[in-house]
Symmetry: D2
Subunit: 341 residues, 4 copies
């Protein structure tokens, strides 16, 4: 099966290229980038030197992509741009996995509030937001267009959804602090992302209205049947990759840490990419970077009545490209872990 | 005026040596360390090569220290050991500034609960916990023994105390997430603090019952007249120095971000080491490391009704040795900023 | 085919475990460690959580290892200890790939000069030092015990040997400066390797007589038929993995950079793990970490008459465990790149 | 005495601002920047918050600067731009210390070969290149325009010049490998200097013809009376500040490491900012960053006949702004170390 990547010039694009070049069941047949068209992958992405099969970037020509014999496209484009490509490729009968935010939010007003105009709103009703461990499996048959979740949302939804559904935690006073490696900002050439600005620097940013909040809260509501409002505090940490998220949430009356873990175990039995650490241990970004795993742990604080939940993932893997490949695997009937371990 | 440091082999000891060697009003006359006795400062602390005046470490001999002509001692010893030295030096009429936890907690039962046995409980009633920007000035006349605050507590008390006193925030559902550089663990030679373990790694640790919690909550209660229970989530970030603390706290009914800043301005008018950033900016550890400053900012989140407060300081300066020098300056009648800017 | 690792508690042991767990043609059936016996791999090596097949560390019992049905053992032990295990396992008919220095140096006096006593000198004549891209292929049939090269030696021998053999460079005035990530020191719990000591720190160490010098010069002499003495200056750089080596060597009379590249191309035609970058580019450790590649480039300086040769590799992959797996692949008739791309 | 800085938007400009704000004998009265005019120093340079005396950036208006009552200007401008300002300010009777390359090279043809057109060649004969520890003191009376040395040149000239003059080392086969923190590139907003590109990355760059070579070789020739050609290999290391330089140079016949150190001691007796470490130790960038020191050490290799010399400095202090302040101190009759310890 031949697949392609549209817009592969960023960090998640690079990881996706590497994963697909090493995938046992698909052939990466096209990699597009307006700015890099004509260059070899090996010259732009040193990580793939020697395994790049001589591939070159091609221009992101919509008609050519639609007319090709490729069966599936990953869109690693900025939000806004992705919608246009998704529209044409879906119309041409291609499967599309979109890594941008364009189809993560089903409510158009919410999308506009956070991102501005939408270029293919007519696709929203049929697009599927797929977080593989949480989404009911019907999407595998129904979907033509899948939105892969954002990095922060994955690190919050995976731990929280089963607990809210099981009634182990309250819906109020939820506080999620997340610390992301600098690659979370993409390959933006701005002063704020220079080595000398970020090394030895930790700071909060985009407090109150980070764009991922829209997606987090919509998914929490869809999964649990009622609105959930959370305090989401994103931060930059001086590392390249990884997200460490710490969630404070009041325990439901009578809930224990054992019940919390039981809810997780029920939700994630057999989940290859969710690892539960014993209560008292804490996930570490360094332990998950380069893998598609998300590690979880929790403790109960009898003084405050809160659970403190910790999660760690690689923002470019489980938080982006690894999860997109996992989605492809499930969608196309490959083993879920193919190309990911 | 001659001063000495007892137990200067750690990171805060090293910073303290450097500050005192450059201080315009005191002479660093003795630096003790059991393990380093006989070695030159320059050989152990490369940062002071060329300004070390040929000083050597001497043994931590209690009788000799008590009999010396030094007027003031800083104790940079582990908790437990500090109490013994404090007792003898205070008895000998020396002023003592203790950087350990031994005299930070006035309640003996709380101390024992968090730290174990206390070796000089009879000194607790007369010891002064001094956070210069918050402590009523009478300590300058009364004190013989001063406890300098811990690094995390400083980053939480400075922003929170004026807001609790002014009634701008509630006393409940306070969540403080703090991210510390690795020097916060001291110069511990353990696998967890190796370069290869900590680089590119962010993780929570000591959730639920970190030792600094005792000091934070006792001070919050003393300053505000009633118990305050907080969720304190400490983390390690991959940097050498610096603490970034993010506090989520429900706004009191009707409170605005303007009132919050007004409370801060009232509390910190003229405070040389507290900088208020405009709401919307966020403090950055990289901007305060090497200084004795703490930078503060806050935003209001109309969706959750919370304030999100951010603070950054250098854990070895405002969080330890810089603050100890600031205390000395105030105690001895030197300009508050002497040797610190 | 079942394989085992003896002494897997260090960083290269961890990488080796990960590579063998993912290898398509072998089953990792035993992992030994005196200090970790009884613990699960997943608890000690978080990178393999979820792919560890429930393996536990077992004690390093020589008799049991010799009596097992495993066909091949990797020794990831300190030098000295490795010789004893090699002796017993070779006697039991096992294939042995030793990652230590014990069998890298064929001259016993040289070994003793650099490392001290040798515990199995009788094996030295039949041991094979195998750098896959340089060693004549007869070892695949003849060997029972293979010494995998050191990290620094690989980064110097791969670029230099073909040039010395082709007469493109002189044998004199060779200067090799190498900058290694901190994992090169192994998982040593010493103050020098603490995060706060190594972050933001670059320095030379072990000048004049680093142990790898013995191996580098013996191999240069064996490959080129005459002694070669080089200046080898190792350094520590503030990164976890990677070696960047810069070699200055006078060009032979009339030699050009084109002839230099021609010599490399002749030597490494078809070599999957040697990448030649165009003259003017320079290899970057960040581009090879996580791969088994070594990237090479060179420029000619008409002012000095020197070539400046640059190389980059991952010290734990091509410099240790990746190369050991490559050796196994060639020895056992697997594809050379199996489990390595 | 009032001083000003022209073009203070870069990293060395920021360090210079900080040094001058804390200097006991001068008042920083003007800081110019075209791009930042009108902004407060505190908003742009967080390190000086609280000590910035309310200063704002002003436009770099040549006429206004020349007409001011300031006695001395530092030029922290890009090469090319500096010459124009130097010309006007010198003509107006101001003292000028230029941190750019414009007046470091006395030979116009060499300047043009490395940098292109020169905008004030008529000033070259009277400009003084001042490396305080090496320059004969007459410049203090004669100079109107001083060129402060580059970062790499300082780290090579300080160790080498006394050894060449004393005949302890040969003039041939000198190889200098230098590893610089990323701030050495200035605050360039380019992809190559992003955090994610430079973290965990070491690589050589600008081999063969780095611009600093012109200055290094001209000074070596001027100090020693004959041309010296060296191999200079600059590298980027993953740290913010610091240069670690390792120089390999054949010992002169009969020279010993004792004679080498004797030559250094003779040259640097009383030099506050040159520290000689015992042979066998090696300077560490982490030990000098934040200071104006350069640390030196050397070993002799009996196998190769070379000395291996190691040096470490802070590229923004002794390699730029600290050295510029040291020059001002000497020029204006202040204590050499004023504002620098």
């Amino acid at each position: 099966m031949k697949v392609g990547i549209v817009g592969a010039s960023g960090y998640s694009g690079e990881v996706l290229v590497k994963l697909l070049l090493g995938h046992p069941h698909v052939t990466l047949a096209a990699v597009t980038s307006r700015s890099l068209a004509g260059k070899s992958l090996a010259s732009v992405m040193p990580a793939v030197r020697g395994i790049d099969r001589g591939l070159k970037f091609v221009d992101s020509d919509l008609a050519a992509l639609a007319a090709s014999d490729l069966a599936l496209y990953f869109l690693a484009l900025p939000h806004g741009a992705a919608a246009t490509y998704a529209k044409a490729l879906v119309a041409a009968g291609k499967r599309v996995i979109d890594l941008s935010a364009d189809f993560r939010i089903s409510d158009l007003a919410t999308y506009r509030n956070y991102y501005g105009e939408h270029h293919a709103p007519e696709l929203l009703p049929s697009a599927h937001f797929v977080l593989p461990e949480l989404s009911p499996p019907a999407w595998k048959q129904e979907a033509r267009l899948v939105a892969a979740p954002g990095c922060y949302p994955t690190s919050i939804l995976v731990p929280l959804v089963p607990l809210l559904k099981a009634g182990v935690v309250t819906r109020e006073h939820i506080v999620a602090n997340a610390y992301s490696g600098v690659s979370g900002a993409g390959r933006k050439v701005e002063e704020a992302y220079l080595y000398c600005e970020r090394a030895e620097s930790t700071k909060a940013y985009s407090l109150v209205k980070h764009r991922h909040l829209a997606e987090i809260e919509e998914q929490l509501a869809l999964h649990t049947g009622a609105p959930v409002v959370i305090q989401f505090n994103p931060h930059l940490a001086p590392m390249r990759r990884g997200i460490a998220t710490t969630i404070t949430v009041p325990a439901a009356p009578g809930a224990t840490v054992e019940r919390l873990y039981a809810a997780w175990r029920a939700a994630y039995a057999g989940a290859a990419f969710v690892q539960l650490l014993p209560s008292g241990e804490t996930p570490d970004t360094a332990h998950v970077v380069g893998t598609n795993r998300i590690d979880l742990a929790a403790v109960h604080d009898p003084r405050t009545g809160n659970f403190v939940i910790t999660a760690a993932e690689d923002n470019l893997m489980k938080g982006a490209s690894g999860q997109a490949v996992q989605i492809m695997n499930l969608w196309c009937g490959f083993p879920e872990t193919a190309g990911l371990v």
